[in-house]
């Protein structure tokens, strides 16, 4: 039977204001094939997906669906033609339940009223394949990010699309959830659905895709057919960055001393964190891993003083401190780089300048009027040190790319003497190049200034690469501590799943 060409997009152009997002984008999708769409942040792959799904309209170029020229003005028109997209910024409605979200916009009617029974059946059928434990009666704002992403995917699938576009669906998922998603993607592909898949995690693309198309600076950088050309990660990275990356940095570089910076014992919060004990040494990078949603995120927030009702005994450099307010943590130089930068780390509509100097305004002794010139030069230094790409200090951070936004979140703490830096999934949604920059900068700081870091990452690769020690969490408890050479994919997965 072979595969049929479902979609062919040629010469797509799109610009936003003066910024060219897509100069010449081309994409071909076949039925039953999983096409990987790769590229750095800002390379145009998200724009391409959104144009196909009808969210944006192209300035030029043509899109053929099953050899018929189409031009969508809104996502609804695309959906009617069988194109469904899973959005990177979630498109769920927080106040509706899981099943209401799955069928949203496509509700069936039974005479006058909505047919809720049918809707629940549809939702349950799909959710059961992806995440059987999820209660479809739950309201979406009660879910964790991974579960929300699953609901988002279920919503796209419920439309029974011919073409399914998954824009970074795995960023919020734990490894187990990724597995079941991949299984379901394979099933869908076997049924003849054409799938477009984007991810920053190379191994995922290598595993699930049959074919990859790589974008760079708004144009096609290349395509690889895995069955014909074989799977060569070097080549993909080469296409993404436009240059051959150096061989992987060696792991042996621990700067850990025996001096304890932060010691926390008997940390309890609600039922979410149970008897957590942490001993962080000066110059150490301590990892936190495990399945998604086992309390890692809460632990980071707790250490940064976000929970008023916390119960713990914490000492920093031997001095007793209370972790019941963010200001307490910051005064003791425990600084948090939150994972969801757009929600927790930045004032999106404000300028780069405002964002970087903001922490100072509240915590240092301030003159009545802000010394603007002095701060601007400090701010310029930060931008320089972190090589943040921005055309001015006054541009809103919302206009920066994801990687640069994350650098701003790190940069705002730069002028503080950091005792402990808490990194909560800092590379989430950041492209390969920016991710490397960010981590290299942090590793440098650790080695030079003997800064201590607690790193939570949802991607095990980052943990393996950078951590001196790794704590595995399960249901709010620390169930294993891996050290040095013990840290590898197998041991992490085994400990996460409590195999041993």
């Amino acid at each position: 039977m072979g595969t049929v060409k479902v979609l062919e997009a040629t010469g797509i152009k799109k610009h936003f204001g003066g910024v060219v997002a897509l100069a010449n984008g081309n994409l071909i999708c076949h039925s039953g094939r999983i096409t990987g769409l790769l590229g750095a942040n800002g390379s145009g792959k998200s724009t391409m997906s959104k144009i196909i799904a009808g969210v944006y309209s192209a300035d030029a170029g043509e899109i053929k669906l099953s050899n018929k020229l189409v031009r969508y003005r809104n996502p609804n028109e695309a959906r009617k033609d069988g194109i469904a997209m899973v959005f990177q910024n979630l498109s769920l409605v927080a106040d509706l339940t899981v099943w209401q979200n799955v069928v949203l916009g496509a509700e069936e009617k039974k005479r006058l009223f909505l047919n809720d029974t049918a809707a629940k059946d549809i939702a349950r059928e799909i959710i059961d394949q992806l995440l059987p434990d999820l209660d479809i009666q739950k309201v979406v704002h009660e879910l964790n990010p991974g579960e929300m992403q699953i609901v988002e995917i279920a919503k796209a699938i419920s439309a029974k699309p011919k073409l399914l576009i998954l824009d970074e669906p795995t960023a919020a998922l734990g490894q187990a959830q990724v597995r079941s998603l991949f299984r379901y993607m394979k099933t869908l592909a076997e049924r003849g659905v054409a799938i477009v898949f984007t991810s920053h995690r190379l191994w995922e693309v290598m595993e699930i895709c049959d074919y990859v198309t790589i974008f760079r600076n708004g144009e096609n950088a290349g395509s690889i057919d895995f069955s014909r050309d074989g799977k060569d990660p070097e080549k993909i990275v080469d296409y993404i960055t436009g240059e051959m990356l150096k061989a992987k940095v060696k792991k042996k570089r621990s700067a850990a001393t025996s001096e304890v910076v932060l010691s926390v014992t008997d940390l309890n919060y609600g039922g979410v964190l149970k008897d957590v004990a942490i001993e962080l040494k000066k110059g150490e990078i301590l990892g936190i891993g495990g399945l998604a949603g086992q309390g890692q995120h809460e632990l980071m927030l707790a250490l940064a003083g976000n929970y008023a009702g916390i119960d713990c005994h914490a000492e920093i450099n031997g001095k007793r401190i209370r972790l019941n307010r963010p200001a307490n943590a910051i005064r003791n130089s425990i600084l948090l780089v939150p994972g969801d930068r757009q929600l927790e780390g930045l004032f999106l509509k404000h300028s780069l300048f405002t964002n970087i100097i903001f922490p100072k305004l509240g915590l240092r002794r301030q003159p009545l009027f802000t010394p603007r010139r002095k701060y601007r030069s400090e701010c310029e230094q930060v931008v320089d040190v972190l090589s943040i790409v921005a055309h001015s200090l006054d541009m809103p951070v919302s206009e920066l790319s994801g990687g640069n936004q994350q650098k701003v979140v790190v940069g705002k703490w730069l002028s503080f003497d950091t005792n402990v830096l808490l990194l909560a999934d800092p590379a989430k949604g950041v492209d390969v190049g920016a991710k490397r920059d960010l981590y290299e900068y942090i590793v440098n700081q650790v080695q030079e200034k003997k800064m201590s870091v607690i790193l939570y990452a949802s991607d095990n690769e980052e943990l393996i690469e950078y951590c001196d020690r790794l704590m595995i969490m399960y249901e709010g408890q620390i169930v294993a501590i891996l050290e040095g050479d013990e840290i590898n994919d197998d041991t992490i997965v085994a400990a996460s799943l409590r195999v041993r």
Binding site: S91, V93, D95, L96, L104, L112, F113, V272
Partner: protein
């Protein structure tokens, strides 16, 4: 067999627990307390006559609060409900001629058309032009006031006799006896509220109802799901207009006249009542049915303060204080239950 029933019992007790932990429960509690205090202060509270009088006094606010709740849930806010109500009373009393009973029907049609026109204009501003709802409806409130003052510079006008049926069917000559008897037991005001409830009961189960919540909760997501968000917000305004229309019928039935300024104080009271009833001003959250509870709480507060027999200025002052206490109370209750819920989340 045993296991099944055991499960059912467990499910029941957890359902009860869930209900008690809901902020809605705290609202019912507040209402019960208010009711009890009023019952103690007002000696004849449980006599039918007194009940009817109370229902009549509360009805306009209840109807406006429910309408307002729909708009707020859809992500809007309507500052023009008060003057829209005034305008409708003026339209009704201008079209009606006392001598000619048929004009009553014309007046109903005209007022309903005006109500829909009001919704369309607000809806265009909020949904299609995307002007912040507060600004749109603040501006349109003056338009409605202007027209109302043009129609009826001073309170007055005339109505057909049978229009009193919306207030007290017993006082209408030629009304069938059983209607009169019914009206003496079930006040028409209550029937209007029940009509409002039935209306929302139906809408809640249609796409419109679902989409009102979706749009109010997250406009962008709803749009990306293929929902025509502007049209949904327009429909929310139309539902609101139906509630305003019902309130206008009651008001004209009661007073036999139109008044361009009668609705003014009701606008903000309706918004406050909706908030007390648990409608989130950010949209997407709350129950239109519970808007009634909010309106009742507010009404009882006024009544209690009235019975407390304190100077007028204090009455107004304490009205404000108690609204804040009620909102803060249910908010604190939510925080408290959420904390205990979070604590049990992972266990």
């Amino acid at each position: 067999m045993d296991r099944v029933s055991g499960k059912a019992v467990a499910a029941n007790s957890s359902a009860l627990k869930r209900f008690v932990s809901k902020p809605d429960f705290s609202r019912l509690l507040i209402l019960a307390v208010m009711l009890a205090i009023t019952a103690v202060l007002q000696q004849n509270f449980f006599e039918i006559k007194a009940i009817v009088r109370n229902v009549n006094a509360f009805t306009p606010l209840i109807l406006l609060t429910m309408g307002q709740a729909v708009v707020i849930i859809s992500g809007g806010l309507d500052l023009s409900v008060g003057t829209a109500l005034s305008l409708l009373t003026c339209v009704l009393t201008t079209v009606m001629k006392k001598a000619d009973p048929v004009t009553g029907a014309y007046a109903l049609a005209a007022a309903f058309a005006v109500a829909m026109l009001i919704a369309v204009i607000n809806g265009i501003g909020i949904g299609y032009l995307r002007i912040p709802p507060v600004i749109v409806t603040f501006a349109t409130s003056f338009m409605w006031l202007g027209i109302a003052l043009f129609l009826r510079p001073t309170p007055g006008g005339e109505t057909v006799d049978w229009f009193r049926a919306f207030y007290n069917p017993g006082s209408v000559e030629g009304m069938p006896a059983f209607v009169k008897a019914l009206g003496a037991v079930i006040p028409p005001a209550l029937i209007l509220v029940l009509i409002g409830y039935a209306l929302w009961f139906v809408i809640r189960r249609t796409r419109t109802g679902r989409y009102i919540y979706a749009v109010g909760s997250n406009n962008e997501s709803a749009y990306e799901s293929g929902i025509n968000t502007a049209w949904v917000q327009m429909r929310a305004c139309m539902i609101n207009s139906v509630f305003i229309f019902l309130a206008a019928l009651f008001f004209v039935g009661q007073n036999q006249s139109g008044d361009a300024r009668m609705g003014d104080p009701l606008t903000l009271r309706a918004i406050a009542a909706a908030v007390v009833g648990g409608i989130a001003l950010t949209g997407g959250r709350g129950s239109v049915y519970f808007a009634l509870v909010g309106a009742l709480i507010l009404s009882f507060v006024s009544k209690i303060i009235f019975f407390a027999n304190i100077a007028n200025a204090y009455q107004t002052f304490f009205n404000g204080v108690i609204v804040i206490v009620a909102i803060a109370g249910s908010h604190g209750y939510t925080l408290y239950t959420r904390r205990t819920k979070e604590a049990s989340k992972l266990t």
